[in-house]
């Protein structure tokens, strides 16, 4: 079965004052129908550029697609015309961004914005579109939707605005929902509501979700599969349960150990020494080598490819499985 979304060796670079650098450097993964894929990593790892790149929303210049393919049901989004891509976005591909305030237009009511999206994708009857808008607001559990449909974004709270964004993304029954840090700006109780809602909707409509986040807790609770990115590359890709039970890559191990836990108490947090190399000084070998206690000459000299290490489990590390190393 062809996956819904198949990203192959995606490369995106940016031109800046300090030079040209590759923000996304050969990223590959697939999203299956009805599944939820999480993309995690710390700031600057390229996760957001990946999601914008898939939607064809990279501003060029300064950005440039250097190579790769983004196959949506087998058709390459990157070689499509702009109008073909526009027909998919907001239609079969819905998007939710982190900032619910800046991604809604402040001078139109939320209803008008949902109706515009519905009409742009083929629903011509205005009255029908309004009814559908109210139905969508009800679906995302906005209280008294038939009244709130005429509210402006500033009249809603942050959580309510994010629910409107989700309603907007779901307006045309998308097959794929791309959510870039959808709950990062929200309080935890509201975050729990939004995540429940997204899970529930994907169960009900069968939409696949690609969730970009820095929060490992959110990933564990929401995703079936996980892609871990570091400095523009995928370092590990695995089913969520396997990844959280015992990550293979030293970076994933370090990241998980650094998360303070609510369920256990430790005296000291684990840290990953050092910091991510700056984009203009990427090493020739493994990008994590300078921070990795297991790094060898080989790690510093050449980049490890992503290779299979278990069922549906890929890791880019010369030394994995590391439990077989004797120190």
């Amino acid at each position: 079965m062809t996956p819904l979304l198949d990203v192959r060796d995606l490369k995106i670079e940016f031109k800046t004052d300090t030079g040209t650098f590759m923000a996304v450097d050969g990223v590959s993964f697939t999203v299956n129908r009805g599944a939820t894929l999480g993309i995690v990593g710390e700031s600057g790892c390229g996760k957001s550029v990946t999601s914008l790149g898939i939607m064809g929303l990279i501003p060029t210049p300064p950005g440039r697609y250097v190579g790769g393919e983004v196959l949506f049901e087998g058709r390459d989004l990157l070689s499509m015309s702009n109008s073909e891509r526009r027909a998919l976005r907001g239609g079969r591909m819905g998007m939710v961004f982190q900032e619910p305030m800046t991604s809604l237009n402040p001078v139109y009511t939320v209803g008008a914005q949902i109706i515009e999206c519905l009409r742009a994708h083929g629903m011509t009857n205005r009255r029908e579109a309004r009814e559908r808008a109210i139905e969508l607001l009800d679906l995302v559990r906005l209280p008294s939707p038939s009244k709130r449909v005429d509210d402006f974004p500033h009249q809603l709270s942050g959580g309510q605005r994010q629910r409107v964004m989700i309603a907007l993304a779901l307006a045309n029954n998308p097959d794929l929902l791309i959510a870039d840090e959808p709950t990062t700006a929200l309080d935890v109780t509201i975050q729990a509501q939004i995540l429940d809602l997204m899970r529930d909707l994907s169960d009900r409509t069968g939409a696949a979700i690609m969730l970009i986040t820095h929060d490992l807790g959110v990933v564990a609770e929401t995703c079936d599969d996980v892609v871990v990115m570091y400095a523009g590359k995928v370092v590990e890709r695995a089913p969520a349960r396997d990844l959280f039970n015992g990550p293979m890559h030293p970076y994933t191990l370090g990241l998980m150990a650094a998360v303070p836990r609510l369920d256990t108490n430790s005296d000291r947090l684990e840290t990953i020494p050092g910091s991510v190399p700056p984009p203009w000084a990427m090493p020739a070998g493994c990008r994590f080598a300078s921070r990795c206690p297991l790094a060898t000459e080989e790690c510093r000299a050449s980049q490890p490819p992503l290779r299979e290490i278990g069922k549906d489990w890929l890791v880019a590390c010369w030394r994995a499985p590391i439990e077989e190393i004797s120190v």
């Binding site: 109780t189 015992g246 439990e323």
Partner: protein, 363 residues
């Protein structure tokens, strides 16, 4: 921290009673109708020497306003703040400046809280010279020592803030805060803007500094996991008031206030399939502009009754112990079932051991 620290001394470092900050809204469109935002209402707590009190809550609960009012960066509407027994809420400005030597602040945004036109050296020299802590050559030596103490190097002193990463900037802010050897540091979301791996470095640094210098922290945060890790005691705020205050251990083992319970249940845990089967609180929080006479959480509370909607519960000690809560019905709470902390799989334990061994053999 698992090890309890020395019990608070008779005179706490910080004693806050009845702290209130209301912001009047008026003029412009609202002319004639005066509204008041009750950002902080009747907040009382104390912090002992070398102790960490965390203030947690969601956005708009008044935790940052409380932090600023403590240092009089915002003038409180009423209430008193005592530092080492001295009431600072009425001090004239010149006395206040001298007093700031003993109470410092670290802010959330390490980009906005350093002057971009000052080198790190200039930034760190300022408090030293202002408070006559060191002058001349000794001041420069102190700057170098401070940098080393927070994990930077003396050669960083002549750089500008934009040359540093977020974590490094937060180290500079911390160096500035400890330069006057304060008794108290108010930290407002000091690690919220940082990535997980950097966050861990800064949290560890703050704990090391507290152990070495013995200052108290008021640690303001929305992140319960970080709070559990760093705090000795926790105060939970909701819409301007403390609803529960307890030692960290007991707060996380047996949260009493329905809001605290909702917060803990809603926090995502990095364990797949462990989603606590409970409804996140539904309903909407009331606006801080028109709080009714009852409990502010009543509109979202599963235990709420008519009593809650008509009469606000006062905060009171429970069983004579150190825990205080503001709830009419907390006795009726159902036992809270926590998902057990997962034991690491053998493969994970083996991998972590290899990593730890390798790291140890490098140092």
């Amino acid at each position: 921290m698992t090890t309890p620290k020395t019990p608070a001394l008779p005179t706490p470092v910080l004693e806050v009673s009845g702290l209130t900050k209301h912001f009047p809204l008026g003029g412009g469109f609202l002319q004639g109708s005066k509204h008041v935002v009750q950002a902080v209402s009747d907040v009382s707590f104390s912090v002992g020497k070398g102790e960490t009190l965390a203030i947690v809550g969601e956005s708009g609960c008044g935790k940052s306003t409380t932090g600023r009012a403590l240092l009089r960066l915002l003038e409180p509407t009423s209430g008193s703040v005592k530092l080492d027994g001295e009431d600072i809420s009425k001090l004239p400005p010149h006395r206040l400046q001298a007093l700031r030597r003993n109470m410092q602040m670290v802010f959330q945004d390490p980009f906005g809280s350093l002057n971009p036109r000052m080198t790190v050296r200039e930034t760190l020299l300022e408090p030293l010279l202002l408070h006559n802590i060191a002058t001349g050559k000794r001041a420069h030596e102190t700057v170098n020592k401070l940098l080393v103490r927070v994990g930077l190097a003396p050669h960083h002193a002549d750089r500008y803030p934009h040359e540093f990463s977020g974590g490094q900037r937060q180290r500079i802010c911390i160096a500035r805060a400890i330069s006057t050897r304060p008794r108290l540091i108010v930290c407002d979301e000091p690690v919220s803007a940082l990535d997980v791996s950097v966050q861990a470095q800064i949290v560890n640094l703050m704990q090391d500094l507290q152990r070495d210098f013995g200052m108290a922290y008021v640690f303001i945060s929305h992140d319960l996991s970080v709070v559990r890790h760093i705090a000795d005691r926790v105060a939970v705020m909701y819409l301007g008031r403390i609803v529960e205050e307890a030692p960290a251990e007991s707060l996380f083992a047996d949260p009493r206030h329905p809001y605290t319970r909702a917060l803990i249940q809603a926090a995502p845990r990095p364990v797949p399939g462990l989603r606590v089967a409970s409804e996140p609180p539904s309903g909407e929080a009331p606006s801080a502009l028109n709080l009714g006479p009852g409990c502010a959480f009543a509109s979202r509370c599963p235990l709420a009754t008519d009593l809650c909607r008509s009469t606000r519960p006062e905060i009171d000690a429970v069983d004579g112990g150190p825990t205080r809560i503001a709830c009419h019905h907390a006795d009726q709470r159902a036992p809270m079932v926590f998902p057990p902390a997962p034991t690491p799989t053998p493969a994970l334990a083996a991998r972590l051991a290899v990593m730890a061994n390798a790291r140890n053999s490098m140092t």
